[in-house]
């Protein structure tokens, strides 16, 4: 049997698109790329976008590939290289109504995720809006803003002043079921994953190729931030006394300790770290280690004693699934990633 080899070959040729990213070189995008030995998300970003700091675009476009298990970039695996998004208008939100029966609680100063001053009031706000618009047996909703985050879980959401809250990290509830957040709240499926990075002095020889590189090091993470990723089953860096963890009072304080040489690395999420480095004038002096240390996810939460607890949560989860299936999820995330990096540069 003669196979029509040539036409098949033509059809399989990837569609190469050259797009202009504002303020940078031409990009090679809307293609799939086979990971080579030694590649990192950063190096793939540089090869395709001409900039290492666009790596989160690839990270979020490949959540299905990178999530679960080690989320390592295995050579031979194919990753999708999206084009940076243009200006995508937010979807209509007919269900978002003043005096709606369902209210969601969030707060500002958490850009690019939630902030009233951010386009669309933040990436997560826009995702939550879009998901609720696609939810089964939909309920009109409104979003309320309380900038004092310390009041959100207790007493506001626990007391049902508002129905649901976002965005929240989920503790390791399987390991610590008595954690008050685990006991009091249900968590939705992840709204989005957050890569948690190590930031080092540019000149330092600190490396992170595998977990074996970490014991003996001194890390800084601001006080009040979660630590369960450092102490999970295969690490036990804290309970085993393997590392020294400095809990400075703020992300800025952590970066000051880093530059003073007191700590080997600051560990916060990629967005927070990148913003602080720019804000503190440390560009080129403090840099991310090009491999995420862990992955946290942001969730919608609802009190376990809410009269529609699991029903509301299902509305969010089903809406989120529909949003991902439609491709709209990726458009929203890409748009906000572009806005984020544009603002830093």
């Amino acid at each position: 049997m003669a196979l029509p080899v040539f036409p098949l070959f033509v059809r399989l040729m990837p569609v190469l698109a050259l797009a202009l990213i504002p303020g940078s070189a031409a990009a090679l995008c809307d293609v799939t790329y086979k990971v080579q030995p030694g590649d990192t998300l950063f190096s793939i970003s540089e090869a395709h976008y001409g900039a290492r700091d666009r790596w989160t675009l690839i990270y979020y476009a490949n959540q299905g590939v990178l999530t679960g298990g080690s989320r390592e970039l295995e050579p031979g695996r194919e990753v999708y290289i999206p084009c940076p998004a243009g200006d995508v208008a937010p979807d209509a939100t007919p269900l978002r109504q003043a005096d709606a029966q369902m209210t969601l609680l969030t707060g500002s100063n958490y850009s690019p995720f939630t902030d009233r001053a951010w386009p669309g009031r933040g990436m997560v706000t826009e995702l939550v809006n879009a998901a609720l618009e696609l939810s089964p047996s939909p309920v009109p909703y409104s979003i309320e803003w309380e900038d004092d985050w310390s009041r959100h879980l207790f007493p506001m959401l626990d007391g049902k002043d508002n129905d649901m809250g976002f965005p929240w990290l989920r503790p390791d509830c399987e390991a610590t079921p008595d954690n008050e957040r685990c006991k009091a709240f249900h968590f939705s499926d992840p709204l989005m994953e957050l890569p948690v990075m190590l930031f080092k002095r540019a000149a330092s020889d600190f490396t992170y190729e595998s977990d074996a590189d970490i014991p003996g090091r001194t890390l800084c993470r601001p006080s009040g931030y979660f630590t369960h990723d450092l102490d999970r089953g295969d690490r036990r860096w804290l309970s085993g006394g393997k590392i020294e963890l400095v809990r400075a009072e703020s992300p800025e304080a952590c970066f000051e300790r880093l530059m003073a040489g007191d700590v080997d690395a600051v560990t916060v999420n990629a967005f927070l770290g990148a913003s602080k480095i720019v804000a503190m004038g440390l560009r080129g002096k403090a840099v991310p280690v090009e491999k995420p240390l862990s992955h946290e996810a942001l969730h919608v939460i609802i009190s376990k004693t809410h009269w529609r607890g699991t029903a509301h949560l299902y509305r969010v989860n089903a809406g989120l699934r529909a949003l991902r299936a439609s491709g709209r999820y990726n458009e929203i995330v890409s748009k906000h990633l572009r806005i984020f990096w544009d603002q830093l540069n």
Partner: protein, 362 residues
Amino acid sequence: MRNTIFSGLLVVCGLLAQTAAAQTCGGSYTVKPGDSLSEIADRLYKNASMWTAIHSNNLEVIGDRVDTIRVGMTLSLGCIDGHPTGLPGGVPVESVAAAEEAVPSLREGGGTAATRSRINILTAGDFEPFTDRDLPNGGLLADVVNAAMNKADPAAGYAIHWVEDWGSHLEPLLSNALLDLGFPWYRPDCAGTPDSYRCANFMFSDPMFEMLILLFTRKSDPIAFESDADIPGRTLCRPRGYFTHDLDRQGRRWISEQRITLRRPQAVADCFEMLMEGEVDAVALNEFTGRTALRDLGLKDSVAIVQARPLSIEGLHVLVHKSHPQAQAMLETINAGLRGIKDDGTYQAIIDRHMTRVWSGF
């Protein structure tokens, strides 16, 4: 206080308790060749004109057109005037008779005008954590209804009665106004299916609770539920007297088109027993009643819960029969009470108390 609220409960249930191995009334009937509704009514109710009762009780199965019954179709026949007897899934004859006798006696036998005229509210147990006499304050929703009525404080007074046979509640107890209000009941999508039995015959209060209806399957042999297309051909179990509208709604005519086999034993535990013995593929229940049963029956490790894909989202309501002379006033009373306890924090305190216990139990 509690004595007042639950008066009558012991009367009714005391009578029910004596009826163990008696003749049964009502139940399910499988349509045979040559049957018509009036023929079935004539044979089983001894009255051909009772076909309307069969029709209204089985609208979700038969649909609007009475000439569309088919051989093999399973009809649910309510117990009316002691007929029909001897069908599978019936209730003991004496229990209905007892309920019918006991309940009016609350009104007429008590002697005072207040007793006769008070608002009589009907519920039943085996519906944890919402209603069961073994639960604190009779369960979450008995607690809520009691608090709401207490808040509404109707001049006539009120009482909550337990008749432990859900299958007798809508017909005949509420349809004949033997009692005034019933709870907790799911409301079908009455905008989409105004002709369904519950929508056509009952009015519903504001919702008191909302939750997911889930499939519970064997862990060793789970059925896939990626989409509705996975369900036709399956055998599901749901206790008798429970709703079925979620299995027979727009775009999902599993019952009326006989796409599934629905088994309807008396108790929740029976469904899980049938599941473990392989007689049914899944039990279709609300998540709380299902999870409570798994805990109590020690089946947590043997049963998988399809949490990510519910059959539906359902609210629980108080209902009143449309033929009740004070139907509208009754609804306004319970709704005013519900608003009152929501505003003053009582409602949330009740939900907190019960749900904290419920989730810590899971």
